[in-house]
Symmetry: C2
Subunit: 225 residues, 2 copies
DNA sequence: AAAAATATAAATCTTGAAATTTCGACCCGA
DNA sequence: TCGGGTCGAAATTTCAAGATTTATATTTTT
């Protein structure tokens, strides 16, 4: 799609701050203030924000500047819906086309993730290993669909996932982690390796549907704090 | 997502030129040249191109400027795949949630489209009513998924459709129009109104799969010229 | 003659300031 | 007290020029 901007640090750094809850939702993002932290001009910040806005992390209104995205329940629902759709389709194709290499990468990603989640269970808290866990969770889900053969699908999924993560981390929900993760991730891997598409689709839906809670009362409650 | 830019005309006009084949794929888009046509500054053009690049219509490389998107067969395949996925899911939800109002809008959109396509058949050429047909075709497909209740899904579909249209119009393929359109559009509407989800999904796939030709030899050949 | 190196030209990116628009406080009249 | 209007400050957008990078043409070397 597009490469990095002239000052890669700004783009990466702002993106990170946005998805890790560095800004409160709805907060105004003034190029003139952000400029100082990076020692660059207003216009450069402006370009970066313009890009982040098209990635969905930032909202933009003409003559009214940029804001950190505010998430309504409806938007979070739509986000989850899209994520389920893309992940189900991506994994289905991967199960069909993926070979031994994909299976190996998947088991590797799951191994790392489950190991980290075991540590979380032992510690009783996510915070100490939050960054590690976030990276592992992303790598796991990305690997699931990595053999789908479509860059477009993977890029679209990545954009959705970023917004998704932004919402999760922003809330006081123990950062989106909940104990059932361990069992559910394993279940997904098993179904994928067994090439049981229907089962895999169902388990992905169950795994992600917790976030549908507000609009889908049949889904199980997410663990809060 | 994002609103218009300060000079709406440039954004809309460049977008139009891109999806109607006003630039040859891969062509360099130099802000300094485009500036003249709109009487504005380089930076303004730059911002517009930056946005179009995130919409997928333009590619951007750091320090190497902008280009009109080049479509590989692979990319076109991925585009079609995503379009099928989104349209199938969108119409399925619309069939479930859409009421009388949706049915009315759908039949209206189809009526307009079929009327225009009848004229095309009579004339034996698309060009005279190309713009009208393009708009009607878009409105038909957009209406199909309009009751899905997800702005995110509709926006994502719109972005895919734009790229899709860009590829179609660029080629010398009679602008993507082919006679089977008439029957296929009707078949989709009938299945949708009958709330036959499986049939509707299948017909949408068949309708769009012609563009999968290069990578899916089982799909019927697109009519050329 | 082909390849590498250099010099020149062109295009891109960044910057700071001017022009335009929005936001908020204050004042006035009802 | 409330609604509307005016004014000033702040923020956003546009602009043109300077700095940096890339592309092209020419020369040099093997």
């Amino acid at each position: 799609m597009t490469d990095k901007i002239g000052t890669p640090d700004i783009h990466e750094d702002l993106r990170r701050r946005l998805i890790t809850g560095g800004f409160v939702p709805g907060q105004k993002l003034k190029p003139d203030e952000l400029r100082g932290a990076y020692g660059c001009s207003i216009n450069t910040v402006r370009e970066v924000l313009l890009r982040l806005s098209s990635a969905g992390l930032v909202t933009f209104q003409d003559q009214r500047g940029f804001r950190a995205r505010e998430s309504s329940l409806r938007h979070q629902h739509e986000l989850t819906q899209m994520r389920v759709l893309l992940e189900q389709e991506g994994v289905a194709i991967s199960m069909r086309d993926g070979g031994l290499e994909w299976e190996a990468q998947l088991t590797a990603a799951h191994h790392k993730l489950s190991h980290i989640e075991a540590r979380i269970a032992a510690l009783g808290a996510v915070e100490p290993v939050l960054d590690t866990w976030c990276a592992a969770e992303w790598e796991f889900h990305e690997t699931l669909i990595s053999a789908c053969g479509s860059d477009l699908m993977r890029q679209t999924y990545a954009a959705i996932y970023d917004q998704f993560r932004q919402q999760l981390v922003t809330r006081e929900t123990n950062f989106g982690y909940y104990p059932n993760n361990v069992a559910e991730h394993l279940g997904i891997v098993e179904a994928a390796l067994a090439r049981d598409e229907a089962l895999c689709r169902r388990r992905i839906h169950e795994h992600l549907a917790r976030n549908l809670l507000p609009l889908d009362a049949t889904a199980p409650m997410r663990k809060l704090a």
